[in-house]
């Protein structure tokens, strides 16, 4: 059976005057209806580029999709015409962006912006589209939705603005919702509210949710599966519970160990030494080897393939089994 959305060996380059940066180097993952996939990684790991490649909103140039396929309901959307891809945006796959203040147009009211897709894409008349916008705003729990229809983005608080973004993304009933760091710009209590809202909406609407984040804490409560990205590759994929319990990749393990914990009070925090690689000069072999605490000679030469280390579990480490068993 084919997945709702599946990425197969996706390669994306950024070609600039300074040279070619290999931003995605063979990303494969999938997500199904009613499921939440979290893509976790630090800045520059390629998680946002993955999201933009799926949406088809990469800036081309400089971005070039070198190879790979993105299958939506079994069809390769990279092979489609721009018009056919545009038809998919919003109606099949929608996206929520990181910073809602800059992602919303400052000169139009939120009612106008939420109802725009309804008017333009579905030919609804203004009144009906605004009515629907009120429903959507109520759905994402914006208080006094009707009264706020004529307000502008800058008149909303950060959390409410992100709710507006979500309402806008839901307007055309997408089957896949991509949320690119939806809570990064918000304070912690609001973060939790937005995550809960996304989880609830996914449940109610039966959508697939792709949650892009650098925050392990955000992921834990919401995601079903996690894909950890490093230097443009997915280095580990796992069920959330299993990943937290027994990571199978040294980077993931180091990330988990770097979280401050109450039960380890007094101990110095563990950090990951070094910096993520320059994507124009990715080190040979395993891209993580310069920072890896358990690196071996073969790691410097041989790119480790993704291997299954359990049911629904993949790790791209030469010593995956040892890491998993806690013997390395």
């Amino acid at each position: 059976m084919s997945h709702l959305l599946e990425l197969q060996d996706l390669h994306v380059d950024f070609r600039t005057r300074e040279g070619v940066a290999q931003v995605l180097n063979g990303v494969s993952c999938h997500v199904d209806a009613g499921e939440t996939l979290a893509i976790l990684g630090e800045s520059g790991s390629g998680k946002s580029v993955t999201a933009q490649a799926i949406m088809g909103i990469l800036d081309m140039p400089p971005a070039v999709v070198r190879s790979g396929r993105i299958l939506y309901q079994g069809q390769d959307i990279l092979a489609m015409s721009e018009n056919a891809r545009r038809e998919l945006r919003g109606t099949q796959i929608a996206m929520v962006f990181q910073d809602a203040l800059s992602a919303l147009n400052p000169v139009f009211t939120v009612g106008w912006q939420i109802s725009e897709a309804l008017r333009v894409r579905q030919g609804m008349d203004r009144g009906a589209a605004l009515e629907r916008a009120v429903e959507l705003m109520e759905r994402v729990k914006i208080p006094a939705a009707r009264a706020r229809l004529q307000d502008y983005p800058h008149q909303f608080s950060g959390g409410m603005r992100q709710r507006v973004m979500i309402a806008m993304a839901l307007a055309l009933h997408p089957k896949v919702l991509i949320a690119d760091e939806p809570t990064t710009a918000l304070d912690v209590t609001v973060q939790a509210q937005i995550m809960d809202l996304l989880a609830e909406l996914k449940q109610q609407l039966g959508m697939a949710l792709i949650l892009i984040t650098h925050d392990l804490g955000v992921v834990a409560s919401v995601a079903d599966r996690i894909a950890v990205m490093y230097a443009g590759r997915i280095v580990e994929q796992s069920d959330v519970y299993e990943l937290y319990r027994r990571p199978a990749y040294p980077y993931t393990r180091a990330l988990l160990e770097s979280i401050p914990r109450l039960d380890r009070g007094g101990e110095p925090l563990k950090v990951i030494r070094g910096l993520p690689p320059n994507l124009q000069r990715i080190p040979p072999g395993c891209p993580f080897h310069p920072r890896c605490p358990i690196e071996q000679p073969r790691c410097r030469e041989l790119l480790p393939p993704e291997v299954a280390v359990g049911p629904q579990r993949l790790s791209a480490c030469h010593r995956a089994q040892e890491v998993l068993n806690g013997t390395a």
Binding site: T91, S102, A103, L104, P106, V107, A117
Partner: protein
């Protein structure tokens, strides 16, 4: 909003009084003997001199003269110029010409500046963009009297597309070439501003949001990008009208248009205080009114200003 408007109107009145006072003081200080300037080389006999001096209050202190003048200005009695003509007549004759010239120049700057700038901004780095960047730089760097005389000799004298000087029988068409010359600087600046603004807005996050809604590029540009890009352009071009009118002095000179510029020049030469101050006062008034209109328009275009 009403409070803001009242505050702005009070500010305008203050600025207006202050500016006229300064101009009047300047004219008063440079005037050595306006009556002799009027008479030219002919000697002026004492009784004539006494009569004219009384008529223009020339023997009274400066502040009183200014008082008489402002009283006239406010009550609509502009009085007489030193040359003896009613200032109101001079104004009624010359202003429409300058106003038409300025408005046509502004129209040219708006239409060509914005459309050219949008096109260049959408295809940044393309042939049109590169050419227009170079050309606008030349325009910005060249003094208006050079552009004026070059255009006059090329397009009017050599090619014969226009008349080289003012021809009232042509009606509004006689202003086209002078208006192009006059508006060229605003056009070039406005075009560069539009180009940068469009290019910048194209890269902004809300454009990405708009395309993730599945909107066509055409709609994204025409609705989302344009509306945001035009905010600084409108502000700039709006305030240009006042500048264009005072800048019309040189253009009017080149094309022999008997507009306000020529009168102003004559007035300064003849040390004609009342005439010069009246013309400058009107220019100031146009400046003040257009900048108020632009500020109000700005608030309409950008909701962040309105609620800020």
């Amino acid at each position: 909003m009403t409070a803001y408007l009242i505050r702005r109107l009070l500010q305008m009145m203050l600025t207006f009084v202050g500016a006229t006072f300064i101009v009047y003081a300047l004219m008063f200080s440079i005037a050595s003997d306006p009556l002799q300037a009027l008479a030219g080389d002919k000697p002026l006999n004492p009784s004539q001199r006494a009569q004219l001096t009384a008529q223009y209050h020339l023997d009274e202190p400066f502040i009183k003269q200014y008082g008489y003048y402002m009283k006239g200005l406010v009550t609509g009695k502009f009085g007489r110029a030193i040359s003896g003509r009613q200032i109101a007549d001079v104004m009624a004759e010359a202003w429409p010409r300058t106003l038409q010239l300025g408005l046509i120049a502004l129209l040219i700057a708006i239409v060509l500046g914005i459309s050219g700038g949008v096109y260049a901004g959408l295809r940044r780095g393309g042939a049109f963009d590169q050419t227009s960047l170079a050309l606008t730089l030349v325009v910005i760097g060249t003094p208006i009297f050079v552009i004026g005389t070059v255009f006059q000799s090329v397009f009017a004298v050599e090619l014969g597309w226009f008349r080289p000087s003012y021809a009232p029988e042509l009606g509004i068409a006689t202003y086209i070439l002078p208006a192009i010359v006059l508006g060229l600087l605003s056009l070039a600046t406005g075009m560069r501003l539009t180009r940068t603004s469009v290019a910048e807005n194209l890269r902004s996050d809300y454009v990405r949001t708009a395309s993730s809604k599945g909107l066509t590029r055409r709609r994204i540009v025409a609705v989302h990008v344009l509306r945001n890009s035009l905010i600084p352009v409108v502000t700039f071009l709006g305030t240009e009208l006042g500048g264009l009118m005072s800048g019309a002095m040189v253009t009017e000179g080149i094309f022999n248009i008997p507009g306000i510029g020529g009168r102003l020049f004559q007035g300064i030469r003849l040390e004609d205080g009342p005439l010069v101050v009246t013309i400058v006062s009107l220019l100031i008034l146009i400046y003040l009114v257009t900048s108020l209109l632009v500020d109000l328009l700005y608030a309409v275009l950008d909701p962040r200003i309105r609620h800020g």
